[in-house]
Amino acid sequence: MTEFLQIKNIRKTFPGVVALDDVSFTVARAEIHTLLGENGAGKSTLMNVLTGLYHPDRGQISIAGQEVHFTSPRDSLIYGVGMVHQHFMLVPAHSVFENILLALDNVPNLFNRKTYKDKIQKLIDEFDLDLDLNTPVWKLSIGAQQWIELIKLLMRDCQLLILDEPTAVLTPQEAERLFNVLRRLKKQGKSIIFISHKMREVMEISDRVTILKKGRSLETLDRGDFDESRLASLMIGKDKVPQWQKTLQMSDEIVLDIQGLSVRNDRGLSDLDSFDLQLKKGEILGIAGVAGNGQKALAEVLTGLKNTNQGRIMAGEKDITNSNARYSYIAGIAHIPEDRKTIGIAPDMSIDENLIMKSFKSGSFRSWIFQNKKAIRRNAEEKIEQFSIKTGPDGTPVRYLSGGNIQKVIIARELSEHPAVLVALYPTRGLDIGSAGYVHKVIADGADRGMSTILIAEDLDELLKLSDRIAVMFRGKLIGYVNPRKTTREEIGLMMSGETPGDAV
């Protein structure tokens, strides 16, 4: 095995925090190397060091035997290190071709455009991608957008490709295609660093796995030396995954009945198209579907951020389609939003203040027009203890908490009032196994108390494990319900691409 990348004793500190503390590992040519670690283990910092965004305090990075010092992502690209970020860097209004051109150093002129077009088309054919160069990016699925990011790096002739949780936004089928592409790239001698939380994928694709824990590289294991449970136990160490089990069976009482709901977005397209859904009391209803098929619109309507164009929403006997009626009902709905930092918290404010965001008007936190600071502090102390939130000194803005702890703050706030309905969007996205298990436990415990949950998630394993029923949606329509105890991943996957259960069987 020839080593392409060698990382030795990297250390990186931020004021008051050691983000990376002695990380070493190597990536060979023609290898798929997985980085595995909980949130806050230092994966993002390490990748930022590797792509030149951060500068290590200590340690060496060598590429093909030569020591390098990157000072910007440009430098790293010159040495053939490129990254596909979780959030794509694409211009939606431009075509696929134009977006790829943007990534190149030498922008083609009128005369050699054709050469570039041919070159890109050759790559597309070679990897059997389903991409039309002239389509504007906004019309493409997330999976196809990811291909563009990959082609950008290949056009720059990158030798080391870093993929940061690339499957988070893909259907199982799309993920499988991605893996095929990665395997082919490997055969061509490229090195790939793969970052993921999903054990199944890690097992499937990795040649070697390096485990990061608290800023240290714990161990590198060869294929054959690891299995799921060994990886999980190494990654989590002594921390325990909270155990939970569901006991209560759901009743037949329907708490939310959605009929023929349609919602159009800013572009006039239908986010939801005659969508039906029934939520029963005490159940966890999983919603499966590729990201961008209307899940977000569904959650926004249910939580009052969006209005409907058509259809009816009934809460028991009450019609809450009308937004005013819905607003008063929403007070009783808990909501774990998709994007924690953009809508879940007020980042500059303290944990005390964030915890009362929904209840600050209630009598327990105010006296006349003044806030009751003592009660607010006491509430925070209780919640920090109860949900074991790790926080800085009093008054620390929540933006400085880790992703998992921010999620805990949101959950503590949303669930403390014992809501009847919870709408949870990707509640474990970006969380480590310990925190994710904790979130599952909270949701399952809620179900035991009779809370009904609409759980929108991307990880099928998570949905299968937690849900009582799974509804599959595609292009804003309900395709059908499946029973998670009886269905297969393949069946759900097919439904996620629009085939009705009848066709699938």
């Binding site: 931020f14 004021p15 008051g16 925090v17 951060y54 500068h55 390098v68 010092h69 990157f70 000072t71 910007s72 430098d75 010159i78 939580t303 009052g304 951020l305 607003y327 929403i330 007070a331 909501h335 939003p337 953009t342 809508i343 879940g344 918290i345 007020a346 980042p347 500059d348 404010m349 203040e353 965001m357 929904k358 600050f360 008007k361 105010r366 027009i369 003044f370 806030q371 600071k373 400085y400």
Partner: protein, 356 residues
């Protein structure tokens, strides 16, 4: 070797505190060259400013006279900043507030002093508030940019007041000068120590205190802070952000409007052309320097008052143009904005790569 710029994970409190002070220092230094270019020794000029503005009872009283409208307008602007709303229209709101107070003073016929003061105060308050409220409504309802609306409405306000004092409200006994008749004693604020200093100053301090309590202690203040920190989060928590935007711009304009009341009732005793020589614009710098605190607004307003009074004497002594004071204010704001860069990023020297 190569310079690189890196985002700080945590900006230090020390840095955030020292940045405004440093930017004033650097502005003083750079303004020194402007003075040198005009043939004036910077040290002598700065000494003159201090002595003139603080060295005598008269100087100090004049400084407080200038500080008073700056506090009102600064409080108004900083309240809106708190919610990430940019009220550039304090200048116009001062004019409209002054107009409202003048209307009461001249035409209401109220005889009781306290009743008169109260009426002038509230009319100025609502006039300034409604004037800014227009921008608030447009922003809340149709996302119209409040910077543009508040700024452009300044011109309308100033020209409207000009129309009144050149036309219908002109003092018949005023030898055709563009000013209204003098207010009667009922419509004047108390003055002290035989100087021009008036009780508007204490009203301004009181306003600062009330505003501080409003922001830091009340339920509404909390709502404003949440919306300022993350509007989407506020919406999702069920807050009526549109209403809050309107309300905050209203209040912001209302406080600036009170500056107009204090100027006509405490100082000018009439409405006249140029009632505010740009206090509303200086207020933007004040709000920015004071960051978020009402107490900070009071301190910075005082510093700006010193500068204005000192600047006047530079004009008399060395015939320096008044533009010098504004240039200096501009320099402070410029360096302050630049210093924000150093609070957010760090600049480091590292070994560079050799590339083709």
């Amino acid at each position: 070797m190569k310079l690189v710029i890196e985002r700080r994970e945590i900006s230090s409190a020390l840095l955030r505190f020292s940045a405004p002070i440093a930017s004033i220092g650097i502005a003083l230094f750079v303004a020194g060259f402007l003075l040198l270019a005009s043939g004036v020794s910077p040290l002598a000029a700065y000494k003159e400013i201090i002595i003139e503005a603080l060295g005598s009872i008269y100087g100090l009283s004049e400084t407080l006279v200038k500080t008073t409208p700056l506090i009102f307008a600064g409080l108004g602007v900083s309240l809106a900043f708190r919610m990430q709303i940019w009220n550039i229209g304090a200048e116009g709101q001062i004019y409209i507030g002054a107009m409202g107070a003048t209307w009461v003073a001249l035409f209401s016929g109220i005889q009781n002093h306290w009743l008169m003061m109260t009426a002038m105060f509230f009319v100025a308050f609502f006039c300034g508030g409604l004037w800014a409220g227009v921008a608030g409504f447009l922003r809340a309802r149709w996302q119209v940019n409040e910077v543009i609306v508040t700024l452009l409405m300044n011109y309308i306000a100033i020209l409207w007041v000009d129309y009144l004092i050149y036309g219908p409200w002109k003092d018949p006994k005023g030898f055709n000068f563009p000013l209204t008749a003098q207010f009667s004693d009922t419509a004047r604020l108390a003055e002290y120590f035989n100087t021009r200093m008036h009780s508007g100053f204490f009203l301004a301090l009181f306003c600062a205190l009330v505003l501080y309590l409003f922001i830091e202690r009340t339920v509404w203040g909390y709502e404003i802070k949440v919306i300022g920190s993350n509007q989407k989060a506020a919406q999702y928590a069920g807050m009526n952000t549109g209403m809050a935007i309107f309300f905050v711009l209203f209040l912001s304009g209302a406080i600036a409007g009170v500056a107009g009341f204090s100027e006509v009732a405490g100082l000018q005793h009439r409405l006249q052309h140029g009632i505010s020589p740009g206090y509303g614009y200086t207020a933007i710098i004040i709000a920015w320097l004071a960051k978020r605190s009402a107490i900070g607004v009071v301190i910075v307003s005082f510093l700006m008052g010193v500068l204005l009074v000192g600047g006047d004497s530079l004009q008399l002594l060395w015939q320096l143009p008044v533009a010098f004071v504004y240039a200096f204010q501009g320099l402070i704001l410029f360096f302050l904005l630049a210093s924000d860069f150093f609070i957010i990023y760090r600049v480091k020297l590292v070994k560079g790569v050799v590339h083709a």
